[in-house]
């Protein structure tokens, strides 16, 4: 009986595996695109899977960079064991466990129809219960945030999970800046009790201080990883 059961399940697993992988990939693509939701023609949540795939294929250019800001070739990404070798294939959950200096980072360039470009960067940190992560979209100046999308493993529904569920909270990030006037890195702080600075701070979520602090920490650390790369394209 056990053999029959195992066979049935194995068959089903093999049969459904491509669909699972496709769903997983689409889920990630949707998260990446939702960071630039404001600049899409229609509402992302109402789009079909094919439409999402189409936008992703047509308007996104993927790059992989390392901690020194150099672009990493596809072969090198493949050598690290990420099948496909593109930025979307990198398993960031594995990647953040490696030595910081050796980590590679995905960069997604989103081009609007009128030619404006957005840089979508990835960052990962810790919330209250488990990991949280986010895609942060930057405008052309590589300083102003154009949009964010956060996700989490299991933050408390209604409290920490608001970072994902509450669109209004995420919208606060639009227009915030991460560099001050001198060009030194400052990041965006999630401030408990309400933002005190119009440019570098956003309101916290009441009852979810630890998750919010996690977001602050993740932004300041994760975006700093990209600094060498951002400097190199700014010239």
């Amino acid at each position: 009986m056990t053999a029959v059961v195992a066979l049935v399940l194995a068959g089903m697993y093999t049969y459904l595996k491509p669909t699972h992988d496709r769903n997983e990939a689409l889920y990630n693509k949707k998260a990446i695109l939702s960071a630039v939701q404001n600049h899409l023609d229609s509402d992302l949540s109402k789009m079909s899977n094919d439409q999402i795939q189409e936008i992703f294929d047509a308007q996104i250019v993927q790059k992989v960079v390392n901690m020194k800001g150099e672009e990493v070739s596809r072969e090198d990404v493949l050598a690290l064991g990420y099948k496909g070798g593109m930025a979307e294939n990198i398993d960031m959950k594995k990647e953040v466990k490696r030595n910081v200096a050796d980590q590679i980072l995905p960069v997604f360039l989103f081009a609007k129809d009128d030619g404006t470009q957005f840089y979508i960067l990835y960052t990962r940190g810790k919330g209250l219960w488990d990991e949280i992560w986010g895609n942060i979209a930057f405008e052309d100046d590589l300083n102003t945030i154009a949009g964010v999308s956060f996700d989490h493993v299991q933050e408390t529904p209604g409290l920490g999970a608001e970072i994902k569920d509450n669109a209004a909270w995420a919208r606060q990030f639009v227009g915030k800046k991460v560099y001050d006037e001198d060009g030194s890195f400052r990041s965006v702080l999630v401030r408990k009790g309400g933002a005190r600075d119009p440019v570098y701070e956003v309101d916290g979520i009441s009852g979810a201080t630890i998750t919010a602090d996690g977001v602050s920490e993740m932004l300041s650390r994760g975006l700093q990883y990209y600094e060498p790369y951002l400097k190199s394209i700014k010239g």
Partner: protein, 200 residues
């Protein structure tokens, strides 16, 4: 992560019973008196402490891509985990019966119940999603069991007392137990803010 840290965290902050509400069926059914609750609580610590490391070994060495079959067999995870839990419970039952009849007579009837206690399977699944290593999974198992033990003792004590209170008839017993658990859950939520690193 520090092991003590994980122990404290899983016992108090991420309490299986009062923060995740796992193992509620036996929690509500066997918490009428402190004595029986004590027995079940001990049995849960026991089984969680044993199955967690075994399931860790199975998950890492048998099912993982780096395991002996070198393929991704994770779709068999649920079946193997539950089989391990069921057989461990039976094994523990036999061992305890042979070597400590006194403990068996106090634990005996609760052991089979534990198989369907979702705190056990839930603990194993959480262990997988949190990617603990071997020693961490032992600490997580013991801590989780201890937390569950504390929770069931606490509710049993309250239920013993509340029998003398004037509760509306329709709410008596089960209904009140639910509301009490909810209140205890709220109390445990206040522990969420603790930084487990402080216990180092």
């Amino acid at each position: 992560m520090d092991l003590v840290n994980i122990f404290i965290k899983s016992a108090f902050i991420e309490n299986l019973a009062l923060a995740y509400f796992l193992g509620m069926c036996s929690y509500l059914a066997v918490s009428k008196t402190v004595k029986t609750a004590f027995g079940l609580g001990l049995a849960v610590i026991f089984v969680l402490g044993i199955t967690m490391p075994i399931n860790w070994v199975i998950n890492t060495w048998l099912l993982g891509e780096n395991g002996i079959f070198a393929t991704d067999l994770t779709f068999l995870r649920l079946i193997l985990f539950i089989a391990v839990i069921a057989s461990m419970v039976q094994l523990v039952e036999m061992v305890v019966e042979k070597f400590s009849p006194a403990l068996y007579s106090s634990l005996g009837i609760f052991l089979p119940l534990i198989t369907v206690n979702c705190a056990i399977l839930g603990g194993s699944l959480f262990m997988v999603s949190k990617e603990y290593n071997f020693s961490e999974s032992v600490a997580f198992g013991l801590g989780g069991g201890f937390g569950w033990f504390l929770a069931i003792i606490a509710i049993a004590a309250i239920r013993e007392k509340i029998r003398y209170s004037n509760v509306p008839p329709a709410l008596r017993g089960l209904g009140m137990a639910f509301i009490l658990t909810g209140l205890m859950g709220m109390a445990f939520m206040s522990l969420m803010g603790i930084d487990p690193a402080a216990f180092k």
